[in-house]
């Protein structure tokens, strides 16, 4: 962390909002913040949070382990064990803060980068790697942890979340639904349609947009001429921009939006203003489209370091704690590495599995043909 980049700037209390009206995408966004980049606790008039040291350490642990898991997956991709990886580096606070706001009976619709949210839902991280290793296209039972399959087509899942939330309302349940998407997805028609449907039907859904500033190589300015959270107003529901690198603010804002949904007051759009520290996926090269100084500036806002500073300053965690957590991180990485390497290739016949629930004559025919073809090798003794 470079202190220089932030030293000149006085820690800004979010109660003193800086106007973002002058230009479409202000570098000083109007956002909810409860923990400054320097680890200073600040208050916000609308969003309060009061956590025990245990809970604070829990959030810290979640972020550290998620980052370690993510780093390990990136390494596994570089070693050829995964075909691709979409890193969440830098977005830990947005994901852990929002993820820890959820109740067990809430339902999550992620993109393909919500590894931290999956962690909060109790999804075994190794389950997330199957699709990136190429052994399945999802592979977990979404109903076990109320965590839907990763969705790769940008923004599609916001409609699934809205429909699911409409069903929740029909059932008279008081659970809520959260849909994750990025700033790039905000350009998709499906996201606009999900805003329309959720508003019209007053669906208990929270739209959690992680504006990580880049949609592969396209900046947010290429997606929108108004701050994203302001779009909600045009659809008739509230939008709020939160410091996406502040886990406390993300937790408080998401909790509030979920409670609003539970009360039957409809959707909320949360724009978590954050930064993707790495590449979009392991396939692209950020040095081709963005400058190092931008990344350096955001490093100063690192979500994990700021909570660590706060924990240390408040005396909530000592060196022994951090050392133990480092050890736990290494154990997690080891477990993930071993699990990925041990992950078996699927059986050849899996091509034909679960194409249809009720069967299909053509699939049956082709399955039989393929089985006979495979068997012919065995007969030839190959």
């Amino acid at each position: 962390m470079t202190v220089e980049s932030t030293a000149a700037r006085k820690p800004r209390r979010s109660t003193k909002r800086v106007s973002a009206a002058k230009k479409p995408q202000s570098s000083e966004p109007q956002l909810v913040q409860l923990l400054t980049p320097e680890g200073e606790r600040v208050e916000h008039p609308e969003y309060e949070i009061d956590l025990t040291p245990d809970e604070l350490r829990g959030l810290y642990r979640d972020m550290v382990l998620t980052r370690r898991f993510d780093a390990e997956a990136t390494a596994l991709q570089r070693q050829g064990e995964l075909g691709l990886w979409a890193s969440l580096l830098g977005q830990e606070a947005a994901q852990i803060g929002s993820g820890r706001a959820l109740r067990d009976d809430d339902y999550v619709f992620p993109t393909y980068r919500e590894h931290g949210v999956a962690w909060c839902r109790g999804v075994d991280p190794t389950n997330l790697l199957g699709m990136f290793r190429g052994v399945n296209h999802g592979g977990w039972d979404p109903t076990t942890n109320n965590f839907h399959l990763y969705t790769i087509v940008i923004g599609s899942q916001t409609l699934h979340a809205t429909g699911y939330a409409m069903g929740v309302a029909k059932d008279g349940a008081d659970s809520a639904v959260i849909a994750y998407f990025g700033d790039g997805a905000s350009s998709q028609g499906d996201v606009a349609e999900s805003f329309t449907f959720s508003a019209v039907y007053n669906a208990p859904v929270v739209f959690f947009c992680q504006n990580n500033q880049w949609a592969i190589s396209e900046p947010t300015e290429r997606q929108t001429r108004v701050p994203l959270y302001q779009r909600a107003q045009g659809f008739g529901f509230p939008g709020v921009r939160v410091d996406g690198n502040d886990v406390l603010a993300c937790l408080a804002v998401t909790r509030s939006a979920l409670e609003r949904a539970r009360r039957g007051e409809g959707p909320t759009l949360i724009e978590a203003f954050t930064y993707r520290m790495g590449a979009h996926t392991t396939s692209d090269d950020p040095t081709k489209y963005r400058h190092d100084d931008e990344r350096v500036a955001w490093e100063a806002k690192d979500p994990i370091l700021r909570l660590r500073t706060y924990l240390q300053n408040e005396g909530h965690a000592d060196e022994a704690y951090f050392t133990a957590l480092d050890e736990e991180s290494d154990q997690l990485a080891k477990r993930v590495r071993e699990a990925v390497r041990a992950m078996p290739d699927p059986d050849h016949m899996a091509i034909f599995d679960n194409v249809y629930a009720d069967g299909h004559a053509l699939v049956d025919e082709e399955r039989a043909q393929f089985a006979a073809y495979q068997a012919s090798f065995a007969e030839e003794g190959n």
Binding site: N136, H137, G138, G139, W140, D141, P142, T143, H148, L149, T151, V153, S156, T158, L159, H160, A161, T162, G163, Y164, A165, M166, G167, V168, K170, D171, G189, D190, E193, S194, T196, F197, V200, D353, N354, V355, Y356, A357, D358, H360, A361, L362, V363
Partner: protein, 326 residues
């Protein structure tokens, strides 16, 4: 009375009524399906009887309709979605192809997608652009979808209920120019398997295979051919995915000749698939190449030209002559 003579659209209406009545998880969704009862009145009176919570008027957004139906299915509902016209399905095509069709497989079978998408399709009603197309091949090509089309009121009544009961996504193509044709519906019958073809007309010289709106044309062609002493067998395929090739094979082994008739463009159409498979299965039984009669590789024409574009009696009979000439 168990047997009633109903227009096809009314049979669909009765079918939806029965489904709503039988299963509280069944929902109807679409543009104008509520108060108006749909532009073809297929959902007429359903919202009045089952309420706005079961028969849901939606915003005008096809991707939104299908996308939210997927979410409702994940929550345990069985949405029956109406797309107003064939040419309007494309904004929803992404949700249907990339999401709906694959969800069951991606979850390794742990979740099911019981969504029915009703699409009035085909021409012959003098409509404007985007209101007369036959895009069934675009859906039949997609693994994970089932594609069916009734040609008469009885099938309309039963196939729709079977589609709703299916745990797979079903694209249900309704032949809009047959909506007003009346035929018998036995509401107490035990329906046959959903994907089995029906012999609509028994014959011995040549087989015509059709579905949806073209079945009637083929039956009329068979009657006309009979006057010339030709015995034409007509198959109503009923299902385009899967296709009941066994029934086609049995017929072709008897007649030695096959013509596939559909409204959709011939190029890459379902006729191509049937011709290829039947050539594989029946090569030594065929007396002539499998012929196809259908639309041209051109946008569906303006209404004043559609009679030229659509396969009619003469074009079908011409193909019969060509086949028999081998």
């Amino acid at each position: 009375m168990a047997v009633q003579k109903l227009p096809l659209a009314k049979a669909l209406n009765e079918s939806l009524r029965k489904a709503l009545d039988t299963d509280p998880k069944v929902l109807i969704m679409g543009e104008d399906v509520g108060k108006l009862g749909g532009v073809f009145r297929v959902t007429d009176g359903l919202q009045k009887d089952f309420g706005e919570d079961r028969v849901i008027d939606t915003p005008l957004a096809e991707s939104g309709i299908v996308g939210t139906a997927i979410g409702l299915a994940l929550r345990g509902y069985r949405p029956v979605v109406e797309i107003q016209f064939d040419g309007f399905v494309f904004p929803a095509y992404d949700q249907i192809v990339t999401q709906l069709a694959k969800m069951h497989a991606r979850a390794l079978g742990k979740i099911k997608m019981p969504v029915v998408i009703r699409i009035p399709y085909g021409g012959g009603i003098g409509a404007v652009e985007h209101h007369s197309e036959s895009p069934e091949a675009l859906f039949a090509h997609v693994p994970g979808l089932k594609v069916i089309s009734p040609s008469n009121s009885s099938d309309a009544y039963w196939m729709l209920q079977q589609a709703i009961q299916s745990d797979d996504p079903v694209i249900f193509f309704e032949p809009k120019r047959r909506y007003w044709d009346k035929s018998d519906v036995d509401v107490e019958a035990i329906p046959g398997p959903l994907h089995k073809a029906r012999v609509a007309q028994v014959g011995s010289d040549i087989t015509l295979a059709a579905y949806g709106p073209m079945v009637k044309v083929c039956v009329e062609a068979a009657a006309a051919a009979a006057e010339e002493g030709k015995s034409v067998e007509v198959l109503d395929l009923r299902s385009m995915s899967p296709i009941d090739f066994d029934t086609i094979q049995t017929s072709v082994e008897k007649t030695g000749r096959l013509i596939v008739v559909h409204e959709a463009p011939v190029f890459y159409g379902s006729g191509a698939e049937i011709a290829a498979r039947i050539t594989e299965r029946c090569f030594y039984h065929l007396e002539a190449p499998v012929l196809r009669v259908g639309g041209y590789h051109a946008p569906y024409p303006p209404a004043r030209l559609e009679e030229e574009y659509l396969p009619g009696l003469d074009r079908v009979l011409d193909a019969v002559d060509r086949s028999l000439a081998y």
